[in-house]
């Protein structure tokens, strides 16, 4: 018998699922080239879902539903709310682009976006290995299809193929690791697994063996070195609107899964997974930043920069438990959460500007295409500059506080080696500053190739301006979002 509380906890998922099907059917009757009606219905659904999530999150309750299969807690609800907003913003930015490129001949863009969002929801609230795995699959399968949405564009198809093959491999890793841990602990439920590990009676070898595969699978999804090879190709190859879709909101879900699996499911193995994350973080910071220097394609450059930013997120994740004491855990994980949220916000705006400059038959994804943007449109050049300075971690942009939060968690967590790692991280972000500045240079110092003014629909202009302003505003007043993340993580750790 399903109790009512369980149902309430998954109302947003249910709405999303039902509406995704409704939108798919409704779209059959839509004739317009830009699919305005479908778009509006999708946006309305997402707005309702986001509002519902926000209200759940602010109620501050933790509900385990369906005998512990899923959990609705503050962290999860906020992440779901942000993911929904990110998908909405992606759709606003991406629709004109998609319409120009025959991607709106059917309503798949909207339906698949909603399904991928549903996948994220399941990932975020899953409290059971199989539920999480199902969420991952739902997200990635929708994403493969989204990447291949421009089906007569060779690059996109190539990217979709790569994404699919590597993604399937990663899912295999994840599943294999999960089955190992299931074999060792006898449960798929994260709470039970955590309890079983904490008894100390389980054979460490099997557990760590399984853990390696779980971490490798997560690293694939996160896109950190050495499991990063798909990121640059997919970012570059996918239509920009889709790049935004897979580079934005899913990072929030990947973060949640990492928290669920590692922090909630295997806190007893923290020593082991923290070491793995540290190596992944070091490699990501180095490879991401160094490889980004060599890129001439802006999307590819941002892909490598993503890799380095995920390295920073991992730094927060590996700073929680010191000598078996989890005293700094709240500080560390909430720093990572703040980092992910601010990173997604910045990514949305930067890809938004790329999308805005793309016209029919012109992609505007080479760095050189941004030449003299300041003369063509000071506003958009300004927004892009805010994004780039934020990604480079220069105050007073929000990206700086994200780095500050993660670095202080790292320094707080330990001795000389962690300070050494902090110095390494800031040196890598110095290298990062170089390639971000190069884009600023192209926009501000170079002469424009074309004098044509930048035109954009009103909604895109409004949302993009708001998005850019938020980067600065959250930099001037970062307290609210920081507190939100801190409370969310505190609740998660307490339950």
């Amino acid at each position: 018998m399903i109790d009512k509380l369980s149902l309430i906890a998954v109302y947003p998922e249910m709405i999303l699922l039902v509406m995704a099907c409704v939108v798919a059917l409704f779209d059959l009757g839509v004739k317009s080239r830009t699919r305005t009606a479908t778009y509006l219905l999708t946006m309305l659904t997402l707005a309702v879902v986001a509002a519902l999530q926000a209200s759940y999150a602010s109620s501050g309750q933790t509900v385990y539903a369906f005998s512990g299969m899923v959990v609705s807690d503050v962290m999860g609800n906020w992440l779901k709310c942000f993911a929904t907003l990110a998908v909405m913003v992606s759709l606003v930015y991406g629709r004109p682009y998609a319409a120009d490129r025959d991607m709106l001949l059917g309503g798949e863009l909207f339906v698949l976006s909603m399904f991928s969002l549903l996948g994220m929801f399941v990932m975020i609230s899953g409290s059971n290995f199989l539920v999480i795995y199902m969420g991952v699959e739902l997200l990635t399968l929708s994403s493969y299809a989204l990447v291949a949405l421009r089906r007569d564009h060779t690059l996109s198809i190539e990217a979709a193929m790569k994404y699919f093959v590597l993604g399937a491999l990663a899912s295999g890793f994840l599943l294999y690791g999960m089955s190992m841990i299931y074999g060792a602990t006898g449960s798929l439920d994260l709470q039970e697994v955590a309890k079983a590990i904490s008894t100390g009676q389980i054979k460490q070898q099997v557990l760590v063996f399984g853990l390696v595969f779980v971490v490798a699978g997560l690293a694939f999804k996160f896109g950190v070195v050495p499991f990063h090879m798909w990121i640059p190709d997919v970012y570059q190859g996918a239509p920009t609107a889709i790049t935004l879709m897979i580079g934005g909101a899913p990072k929030l879900a990947a973060f949640a899964v990492m928290i669920r699996l590692l922090v909630e499911g295997m806190p007893g193995l923290a020593i082991d997974w923290q070491q793995m994350l540290m190596l992944l973080a070091i490699a990501s910071l180095a490879v991401g930043n160094l490889a980004a220097i060599a890129q001439t394609n802006l999307k590819r450059m941002l892909a490598f920069s993503t890799i380095s930013h995920m390295g920073f997120v991992l730094i927060g994740m590996m700073s929680g438990v010191v000598d078996g004491q989890a005293g700094g855990a709240g500080n560390a994980y909430s720093s990572s959460m703040f980092y992910v949220v601010s990173y997604v916000l910045t990514t949305l705006a930067s890809f938004g500007v790329i999308l805005l400059l793309a016209r029919n038959g012109f992609e505007s994804e080479e760095i050189a295409d941004f030449a003299g943007l300041n003369q063509r449109s000071p506003l958009y050049a300004g927004i892009m500059a805010l994004c780039l300075f934020s990604l480079a971690g220069i105050p007073p942009m929000v990206g700086f506080y994200a780095k500050l939060a993660v670095l202080q968690a790292l320094v707080a967590s330990g001795g000389a080696m962690h300070i050494g790692l902090a110095i390494f991280a800031v040196m890598m972000s110095l290298i990062g500053a170089f390639y971000y500045l190069r884009v600023v240079k192209v926009m501000y110092f170079d002469a424009p190739i074309t004098a044509s003014a930048v035109v954009a629909p009103f909604e895109v202009r409004a949302v993009l301006s708001l998005n850019g302003a938020l980067l600065l505003l959250l930099g001037l007043l970062p307290g609210g979002l920081m507190l939100l993340c801190a409370n969310a993580i505190k609740q998660m750790l307490a339950s």
Partner: protein
């Protein structure tokens, strides 16, 4: 809103308005708004001096409200006798730069003026911040407008210069960021500067912190041997950018020594004072010699800036009142003099589009009014008694002799080099017969140029002839700082 907040946010607000104000077809309106903004920004800083209480070393005009509580960061502002003059100096130089760029800048005027106004607000923020994180945010944020100023309105090799400026200074400050985070953790989660200054720290940690701060501030000052970015940047930056860079931005580094290195790590400062004095003397003597062989006027003034800033750091690490006060006076006087020198070169450059000394000769014949100003500033640059340049250098030399006769002697030799390179440049550029047709057709300065050069000349002479208002304000604070630095913080 407190007076300090007003001083910080007035120029920034005007700057933002200017950025929003639109394009070059409204350049006239933009210039006037910028001028009004600069004047208002200067006026709101004046009460800081008139209402300043010189009898106390405590922080004044304090504002303290939580900024973000998650990391216990406060919007904590306050000034003492050390910082008050820099706020006025910043607002003053900002006004001069706006006037100096009036007709010269014709493309993207609103962004140019906006960048300078925002920059000046941020720099005032650095001088008022009493919270480590707030300081860092202002300190770093200044890079953005300066980077754009150099890159957009700079000379032929501007891109190289802009990148070198940004990355070089970012390198230093990122190390300082780690030091700030470390202090935050060992102080029990506080970013408060005044708390940090009372915090006992062991010798090993002090040494590491000292060098982390040194990385940030030495690059900014810049001290020898991390000075190489400065000449490149000065040569390429627009006149206004050079003036602000030399007059204020370099002082941010020197000011950092006073607020961080000396009071937070006094034992390490004493331990490494020999190194600091050595590096300062290298700047004074070696860079002084390098200055002599420069053929580019801007590069010459840039190198002479490094030599002058060597006096500042030398004074700080002598640990006596003459040296410390002398260093601060030298910072203020160098602020006026270097700005004047760069703006003077700008006046010539606007007419001839050349910075090479060899393209000039006998300018006094065609620009007599301008030559008088140029001479005066040159005299101040080589430290002639009666001008601003003299007071600080003389105090530092006296302070040095007190500590060690030979250090004093070595420092004093710089006066000779200073006179040599400055006077030699004056001779080659201004004196003698008219060198070529270009010089022959030079027009003397107009009313606008006359006006801002006069303002600077008054400042230079006033500080030189009657430095008492400057030193009176800082006396108590300097004594307090020395007392603080003399106490060991080892636990």
């Amino acid at each position: 809103m407190g007076l300090l907040s007003l001083a910080i946010w007035t120029p920034i607000a005007f700057g933002v308005v200017l950025l929003a104000l639109g394009r070059d077809d409204q350049a006239r309106a933009v210039r006037w708004v910028a001028l009004i903004g600069a004047v208002v920004s200067l006026l709101v800083t004046l009460p800081l001096y008139t209402q300043f209480n010189v009898t106390t070393a405590a922080m004044q005009f304090v504002e303290n409200t939580p900024w973000f509580e998650r990391f216990n960061v406060n919007y904590h502002l306050g000034i003492d006798g050390i910082s008050v003059w820099f706020i006025l100096l910043t607002a003053f130089i900002n006004l001069i730069v706006v006037i100096a760029g009036w007709e010269v800048i014709t493309s993207r005027v609103n962004q140019y003026m906006g960048a300078f106004l925002i920059l000046s607000g941020l720099m005032i923020g650095v001088f008022c911040a009493l919270d480590g994180m707030l300081f860092y945010v202002f300190f770093e944020a200044t890079l953005i407008p300066m980077y754009l100023i150099i890159g957009v309105w700079g000379g032929p090799n501007k891109i190289y210069a802009a990148f070198k400026f940004f990355l070089y200074t970012l390198l230093g400050s990122l190390l300082m960021l780690i030091a700030l985070i470390y202090l935050y953790i060992v102080s029990g989660y506080s970013f408060d500067l005044l708390t940090w200054q009372k915090l006992p720290i062991n010798s090993h940690a002090q040494t590491l912190l000292f060098f982390a701060f040194l990385a940030a501030f030495a690059v900014k000052v810049p001290m020898w041997p991390v000075h190489t970015w400065l000449p490149d940047v000065h040569v390429e930056a627009p006149t206004g950018g050079s003036a602000v860079l030399a007059a204020i931005m370099l002082k941010l580094g020197a000011y950092g020594f006073l607020r961080f290195s000396l009071p937070i790590t006094p034992d390490a400062s004493h331990e490494w004072a020999g190194l600091m004095v050595g590096l300062s003397l290298a700047a004074v003597i070696y860079v002084g010699l390098v200055t002599m062989v420069q053929t580019d006027m801007k590069k010459l003034v840039a190198y002479s800036s490094i030599a002058h800033m060597g006096f500042v750091t030398l004074g700080f690490f002598l640990f006596n009142d003459l040296g410390l006060a002398g260093g601060i006076v030298q910072m203020i006087s160098h602020g006026f003099v270097s700005a004047a020198m760069f703006l003077g070169i700008g006046v010539l450059y606007d007419r001839m589009h050349s910075r090479e000394i060899a393209s000039y000769g006998g300018v006094i014949n065609t620009m007599p009014k301008f030559a008088v100003f140029a001479m005066l500033f040159a005299m101040a640059n080589c430290g002639l008694p009666g001008t601003a340049g003299f007071v600080g250098e003389w105090m530092v030399i006296l302070g040095a002799v007190k500590v060690n006769f030979w250090v004093g002697t070595a420092a004093a030799s710089a006066l000779i080099f200073g006179a040599a390179y400055t006077l030699w440049m004056v001779k080659r550029v201004y004196l003698g017969p008219v060198a070529n047709d270009h010089v022959k057709h030079l027009k003397d300065i107009n009313a606008r140029e006359f006006f801002f050069l006069t303002l600077l000349a008054i400042a230079v002479l006033y500080l030189g002839l009657y430095p008492k208002p400057f030193t009176d304000v800082m006396d108590v604070s300097v004594a307090e700082l020395l007392k603080h630095v003399a106490q060991s913080k080892l636990n």
